[in-house]
Symmetry: C2
Subunit: 200 residues, 2 copies
């Protein structure tokens, strides 16, 4: 399992690429899944503002219990949800909601969040943006009519986010090193293919 | 008014320096003021985890109406608060709460948030962490018994955060340029003082 270090600027640029697609969905409001969704949601808000769209961020906080069963409901707990006492339910009701998180691994949290919003808060429509989607079998599914914006990564990638690191300079050095190695491998591969091709 | 560009890594390192002081407060939970508080809160959570403290993040979202009066209550609107329906009120009640935001300018939002938490959610005690505190006259005050963690900046600084920028490479170039110029000015100043001193 290869480690993948992403710098803050890597994440910023990925969210920027996704923002170009998100604008077409025309979200009224974001629902950031905390804590992972907080940084990408805040980045995205600035980018949407620059594109003339004012999209407020609401936050929900969920705790995922990985109980290795297929029952979504029993394995996710709400720590914070959109509250009745703050008019935020009505703020989401009938609106175009973009759910934001950092990574889609088993899809459990995302599926729970989308289903729960649908049931409790009745948005007009929903879409999902995650920074990274691991290409692997998912334990839960999202409805096909939900637009999904993400950068795909290998299913077994061991993702290291900058906000989880202790030494940011060392983290960035590792990120750069991985990029250099990846480039070298790609060059080696294409060179090998060229040589194999010319031998045939 | 001088522009000050901060890179993501600048912010990360500032939050890291503040984290060393925050641990002494021993927060049970963070309340991030959205959207500004989301990024520093998420950074801080990773750093506290690395120091053996599991501190969940709850989010509140406020809208500040700058009506140029001194009435806090009329100028801030709750967009999202800690909801009754999610047990998050009880999660804050009786706990040590760290309120997190990006910048303390007029102190209006911070004061509103701290007062409102005190009144509605009855934490045991509170502290405040902001990335930057502008050294200027504040329109609202925080109680003296509230520990306050921040990096101080000039009162008239025009702060440019990376999550507000369109071109992150250009943003980082400007940040570096400002650091180089600031260093040069400091050297020039100390050199002038040395020459003036030796002439006396």
């Amino acid at each position: 399992m290869a480690k993948r270090h992403y710098t803050y600027n890597d994440i910023h640029k990925t969210v920027q690429r996704l923002a170009d697609k998100v604008v077409e969905f025309k979200p009224d409001v974001m629902v950031a899944i905390g804590g992972g969704g907080f940084i990408p949601a805040r980045m995205l808000r600035g980018m949407l503002t620059a594109r003339g769209m004012k999209v407020p961020i609401f936050a929900v906080s969920l705790e995922l219990y990985d109980d290795e069963t297929n029952t979504t409901r029993s394995s996710v707990t709400r720590l914070q949800w959109l509250g009745e006492n703050s008019d935020s339910v009505s703020d989401v009701r009938g609106k175009r909601v973009l759910v934001v998180d950092e990574v889609d691994d088993t899809r459990t949290t995302l599926a729970y969040c989308v289903n729960e919003l649908q049931k409790t808060n009745q948005p007009a429509t929903m879409a999902v943006m995650v920074v990274h989607n691991k290409l692997k079998d998912k334990r839960h599914a999202l409805s096909d009519d939900i637009p999904y914006f993400a950068e795909n990564v290998e299913g077994d990638a061991w993702i290291c986010y900058p906000w989880e690191c202790d030494d940011i300079d060392e983290h960035d050095r590792l990120a750069l090193q991985e990029k250099v190695i990846e480039k070298a491998i790609l060059r080696l591969e294409s060179s090998l293919q060229f040589n194999l091709g010319s031998r045939r």
